[in-house]
Amino acid sequence: MTDYNFAYLDEQTKRMIRRAILKGLAIPGYQVPFASREMPMPYGWGTGGVQVSAAVLTPDDTFKVIDQGADDTTNAVSIRRFFQKTAGVKVTEATEEASVIQTRHRIPEQDLRDDQILVYQVPIPEPLRFLEPSEVETRKMHALEEYGLMHVKLYEDISQHGAIATAYAYPVKVEGRYVMDPSPIPKFDNPKLEMAGIQLFGAGREQRIYAIPPYTQVVSLDFDDYPFEASKADHACDLCGAEDSYLDELIVDDEGGRMFMCSDTDYCAGRRKQGHVGAQGVPYAEDAA
């Protein structure tokens, strides 16, 4: 603990990031530039999220990290250990117990409370970048609320695929003002963006922080005749039988065998503990044994 300042970053840097976070919360959906620091991990591994987590963590917090819903991937484990080492905070895999959750590409299935913070890792914060390469121009478009281009992207989807094929990083309009990229979460998660918890988004390489305060209106963009649909695989979890959770598809052999399972590992384990069993699952106790 004495080898590092609390949560790795120096106090001045954390203050700078907190100012950006507060500004982001004050202007929901607006991308606040910040002086992103070099972190001891490569860009693309969550440097933005890590800096935001470092700035909001207190010694009393309980920290959880998920990567595509899972607590046990290399990336999640590394970041969790990083803060265990540099901040000495408690860590957990239970959504219920965590006060700060850093996530890559998912929102936990379980509703968050107003005493919880969700920190997103964001690769490309600019939703308009797909069609407009100029940063000067996209900032002007945000400033003047010129968002027609965002619908051009959705139009292209429908004209090419017959439906809005954008399945993740589905653009939203926050509190009727800023169009925002919700990071590459599946569009299944979009409705959950209206929540009780605080949501903070950090893009390290792009040096942007943005936020959604609790209970903020978040609307997924769509057309009148092609309304937004939060879709998922038409299946139940093969482990816990849940029909309301976002599923990963797993190829299990070389003969086309496959299984679907909750991408949120904590949610799946919790259900199995409660005795739910999916089509290919086994009771929880046996598994543990």
Partner: protein, 256 residues
């Protein structure tokens, strides 16, 4: 009748060099004005000043807005000017790739201006796109193709459809037929003439091609070294040029 556009003493300098200076004229609804001159005469600078792409160093460019009548577009706020440029104004670039999104389908290119003014019904947007592609002689089966798959003439027609879909009242054109084969040029000119008449468009066309202005423009402005040296009815300026430079310009055209 009030003019649609009032240009008063517009000047633009690049350091000590004159871009254009002392330019004044009125353009009325339904009028097509040509601006001719050789490269470097200031005609493109003037066009860009009028269309809001460049800020003039002096002068006023007043446009008869639908909501508030005559407004100086140079001093109005940027959001207002940008709104004008995607509703009441249109700009047809010489190079289609400056005026089109090359990685977006033809339908998306035409639909963009509609979506920019809050069209949110895919079916309606598509119907309008098909209608406009038809009006510029692009068949509906090309609607989902990207402009990169189009010929030069088609790209230019697509650019026109994309610009006119919101029913603008003033069209700026910068060498609209430049770089096209003569046969393709003729078709484009005929199309533009028809659209100008049907939509009662006003237009300002910059070109160095005197044949283009003879066919399209009612009035002509001749520029040299940043100055307007002669103006008048197009056929009068071409058939009875008064200024030495205009006489040289007209007599330099190859006859076929």
């Amino acid at each position: 009748m009030t003019p649609l556009l009032q240009v008063e003493d517009v000047a633009k300098f690049y350091g000590h060099r004159i871009g254009c200076t002392d330019v004044s004229f009125d353009l009325y609804p339904g009028e097509v004005m040509g601006i001719v001159g050789e490269s470097g005469s200031g005609k493109s600078t003037l066009l860009n000043c009028l269309a809001g792409h460049l800020t003039p160093d002096r002068g006023a460019v007043r446009f008869d807005t639908r909501a508030d009548g005559m407004r100086d577009t140079i001093t109005m706020s940027e959001p207002e000017r940008r709104m004008l440029s995607r509703t009441d104004w249109a700009f047809v670039h010489q190079h289609a790739r400056d005026g089109l999104r090359m990685n977006v389908s033809a339908g998306g290119n035409v639909g963009e201006r509609l979506m920019a003014v809050n069209a949110r019904h895919y079916g309606d947007i598509r119907d309008k796109a098909i209608d406009w592609l038809g009006r510029v002689e692009i068949t509906s089966d090309r609607i989902d193709d990207r402009p990169t798959q189009f010929s030069g003439g088609m790209q230019q027609r697509l650019q026109i459809a994309r610009n006119l879909v919101t029913g603008p009242r003033l069209v700026f054109m910068d060498e609209p037929t430049g770089g096209l084969d003569v046969s393709v040029q003729a078709r484009l000119l005929d199309l533009l003439r028809g659209l100008v008449r049907e939509m009662n468009l006003s237009a300002i066309i910059v070109t160095h091609d005197l044949a283009v202005v003879r066919l399209l423009a009612d009035r002509l402005m001749v520029m040299k070294d940043g100055h307007v040296i002669e103006t008048g009815l197009t056929d009068q300026v071409l058939d009875d040029p008064q200024h030495a430079y205009t006489q040289l310009l007209v007599s330099s055209v190859l006859q076929v």
